[in-house]
Amino acid sequence: MKIELRDIRKSFGSTPVIRGVSLAIEENELFFLLGPSGCGKTTLLRMLAGFASPDSGDLLIEGKRVNDLPPEERRTPMVFQSYALWPHMTVLENVSYGLSLLPMSAQEQRRRAMEALEATRMTDFAERSPNQLSGGQQQRVAISRALAVNPTVLLFDEPLSNLDAKLRVEMRAELLEIHERHPFTAVYVTHDQEEAMTMASRIAVLDQGQLLQTGAPHEIYTRPKTRFVAEFMGPVNWLEGRVKEVDPDRTVTLETSVGLFLARPSSALSFTSVGARVLAGFRPSAASLAATPHANVISCEVVRSQYAGSSQHLVVSVRISNLKFEISGQKPAKPDLAFQVTETNPRRMRKAGEKLEISFAPEDVILLPV
């Protein structure tokens, strides 16, 4: 285990910002701290760097408690959102800086700095001043500077948020490639769930100073443990229901306001006892616009459609057959329920008023306790 957080707590004045977070991060993981602004993710990262110390709890790096260790004794370089390249030094001087603080010859420093620049393909820019580089290039230098010292852990503080959308996507791939060639342990803070899902080996979702869920991107996306996590990772259509039956193969039959539904969670859930009230959801992208066998099928009508080239986002309305259940987010008096669905590779534009059937597999149903 590379890093361990045990019940970390921290307040600024009387406002608690971290309320008991425990985590374990393995060697060479690209570990993401994901959450909305103000959730405490940056504070946690700054604790790892040593710029803040926890009020209570233990912070362990390579098994050593480092709660109050000053930043310079940790070898946990950070890649900053603003890159923080020193304008009075050349690219090479920036990258050699950390090495110059270690006992080694000037040649050795230069060799290792060039190696680090090599890793980000920035050797040609070694003698340039940071001001002469584009945003993406500065980002690469910042990564080289952190890599050069052979870090225990590399910390990333929203490093791509200053780049334009296209460059950001390119840099994601590039970072992954660098990580593949020179594996390192990284803790990466972002509020961009897409960035987290494309890059992370594991994600920790935080909200209001609390850790909500930790897991691989696929697990967090498809099996969120709370409604907040589910919605933070992407849109979900929710409806409430009651468990009617639970099969030995874990298939759960639900009774909802739009009929009977099947859900098949990947592992047994404690709250799915017969008669229990649950929240069921499916993502717009999980729905297909046709009746599929062995799937949940709903008849509906197109309310609005947005064409986006590779996909088409539809809002559809569903007539409710019984009003026994309250529908979340909807006033009970309203006879219709609206869902969002996404059609990939649309062949034609859907028009408002068009009738269609949507279906989603029981495996794609997200089940949460009410």
Partner: protein
């Protein structure tokens, strides 16, 4: 990050230093004014109130300061308007020329004004009112009763650039759409100025006026050179040099302190209000209107006349420094450069130059070290007592030179023995009567401290904290980070600040005149003053030559600082 014990040691040392050299002398003066032989008494204030001389001095100081301020407003308002709104040829040149009087020491300029406007000065000769052929025992006294108007003229010419800068900044901050709104509702330009522009200018105008007022109120050098002794500052100066115990010194300093502190607090409130007024600005700048025809001629004429007047005193100083003989004539009768040679050969001037170089260099060093450290703490650290430190660094702005210098003389009057302890070792380097070096160096630095802290602080504010954090987490400690990241990045601000502190110290008047009591410790300004007082022919010219050298150095300093800082220069004036 928690602050280490080293930080707290440094903080306590700094607070102790500021306490000893800022708070303690002032408290000593306050105490001395109401505490006699262990008893509280207001007898000094009673005596003060009963003294006609003191009332006269107060009256003179107030009216002088108010008049100077009004003249400054009258000069600056039209100038600022012209510079903010119109475009005309050689604008940067004119701007620089108009700024020049601010950096030229009024102490030196006053010598020139006297030469020009005195009863037997150049102007009366040029007008043919006096001369070898005219026997007129009472020619026109342009300087007014005992130099009154001379002081007003000199102070106004020296101080108007401060107001000019203030008013220009306020004017530029007013969103043009506010004026345009009035225009398109049917108000003619003059009405727009009266009802929109001027009210919005008021806070900035008043804040600038307060600076000018306080400066004029506490100015020692100018009235001293004119021999106009019935003002508060000169009285304080006399009380210090008077032997024995004269309580009026204390009461006068208390009065000055009250006036300046009240003015200072008032101006801070006004500035705070101005921030509010201009808060809504959308970053819209005025379109500069080109000036054409007669309007252009009139404007350029106005600027040329003001610049000419403002530089006249110093031009006259240059003339006198080059004159072999200048007596009873409009222009010198003989020209010579020998006075400049004398500056570098006379033991008196050499001592002055040497002393000033040592004092000024040391005070620049102290200031840079102290200023950068304090600015760093204020900008980057959280600690108890931060607001106290902040307040202490602003305090010198509200403490005029004469107040501090007086406090130093009475507060650091170390006796030879104290409660049976031998104090001679301490007395020999702390008591200004024995050796003023320590107090002069500290006095110069402390008075310049607010400016240098502000310059370093704004530099730090513009510098992202992550630049330092990046260094820390690559393995550099606080000291290494300071040395390799912070200082190199602040280099410009620091060098410029040091240069300006040096120049300020070199031509400082009140501390220098009051604290340096033995000739061997005289700095340049006191040497000039001493030379002026001599009767030998030529000593006034040597004083002028010394003054010209001082001005040349000051110009060089400002030029250097300006080159380093570029447009950030304004932050160093406040």
């Amino acid at each position: 990050m928690k602050n280490g014990w080293k930080f707290y040691v440094g903080l306590w040392l700094t607070l102790a230093f500021l306490g000893a050299f800022l708070v303690y002398p002032v408290l000593w003066v306050v105490g001395g004014s109401v505490w006699v032989d262990g008893h509280f008494t207001l007898i000094f204030f009673k005596l003060f109130a009963e003294s006609p001389l003191m009332w006269k001095c107060l009256f003179n100081s107030f009216t002088l300061a108010i008049l100077s301020t009004l003249v400054c407003v009258a000069i600056s308002l039209p100038l600022a308007h012209v510079f903010v709104r119109y475009d005309f040829p050689f604008k940067p040149f004119w701007q620089a020329l108009l700024m020049a009087p601010m950096i030229l020491p009024p102490f030196v300029g006053a010598i020139g004004i006297q030469q020009l406007l005195g009863r037997f000065g150049a102007l009366n000769h040029a007008l043919g009112l006096v001369g070898p052929s005219v026997a007129n025992p009472y020619p026109i006294d342009w300087l007014g009763a005992g130099g009154y108007f001379g002081v007003v003229a000199m102070q106004s010419l020296h101080l108007f650039p401060i107001l000019f800068l203030n008013i220009s900044a306020s004017m530029a901050n007013i969103n043009p759409s506010m004026r345009e709104a009035a225009r398109c509702l049917g108000a003619p330009p003059w009405r727009v100025f009266r009802t929109v522009t001027f009210p919005l200018l008021m806070p900035g105008l008043f804040a600038g006026s307060v600076i000018v007022f306080v400066w004029a109120f506490t100015d020692l050098g100018t009235p001293l050179v004119f021999g106009f002794n019935e003002v508060v500052a000169v009285q304080i100066f006399d009380k210090v040099t008077e032997t024995g115990f004269n309580p009026f010194g204390y009461t006068l300093v208390i009065v000055v302190l009250l006036v300046t502190v009240i003015s200072f607090l008032w101006s801070r409130r006004l500035v705070a209000r101005q921030d509010f007024v201009t808060q809504g600005k959308a970053g819209v700048r005025d379109e500069m209107q080109p000036l054409v025809g007669t309007k252009r001629l009139a404007v350029m004429g106005l600027i040329a006349v003001i610049s000419f007047l403002a530089l006249l005193p110093h031009a006259s100083v240059v003339l006198q420094s080059l004159s072999g003989k200048w007596f009873m004539s409009a222009l010198p009768q003989q020209w010579t450069t020998e006075h400049y040679g004398e500056v570098f050969t006379l033991p008196q001037t050499l001592t002055g130059l040497k002393n000033s170089f040592i004092y000024s260099s040391l005070s620049a060093l102290v200031d840079v070290f102290l200023g950068v450290t304090i600015a760093y703490w204020l900008a980057r650290k959280e600690f108890a007592g931060k607001s106290l430190l902040d307040a202490l660094t602003i305090l010198p702005l509200a403490l005029p030179g004469i107040v501090l210098a007086f406090g130093y003389v009475v507060g650091f009057n170390v006796p030879t023995a104290w409660h049976g302890w031998d104090m001679r070792w301490l007395k020999s380097f702390v008591n200004p009567r024995d050796n003023p070096m320590l107090l002069l160096v500290i006095g110069y630095s402390v008075r310049r401290l607010p400016y240098i802290v502000r310059a370093a602080y704004s530099g730090l504010q513009q510098m992202s904290v992550s630049l330092e954090e990046a260094s820390r987490n690559l393995g550099a400690g606080t000291v290494t980070t300071m040395r390799r990241i912070v200082l190199p990045l602040l280099k410009g601000n620091i060098i410029a600040g040091a240069v300006l502190t040096f120049a300020f110290a070199f031509l400082e008047v009140s501390d220098s005149l009051i604290l340096a009591m033995k000739e061997q410790f005289y700095p340049v300004t006191k040497t000039i003053w001493a030379l002026m007082g001599r009767i030998e022919p030529g000593s006034a010219s040597v004083a002028c030559a010394l003054g010209v050298l001082g001005m040349a150095m000051l110009f060089a300093a400002f030029y250097t600082a300006n080159r380093i800082l570029g447009k950030k220069m304004g932050s160093l004036f406040g």
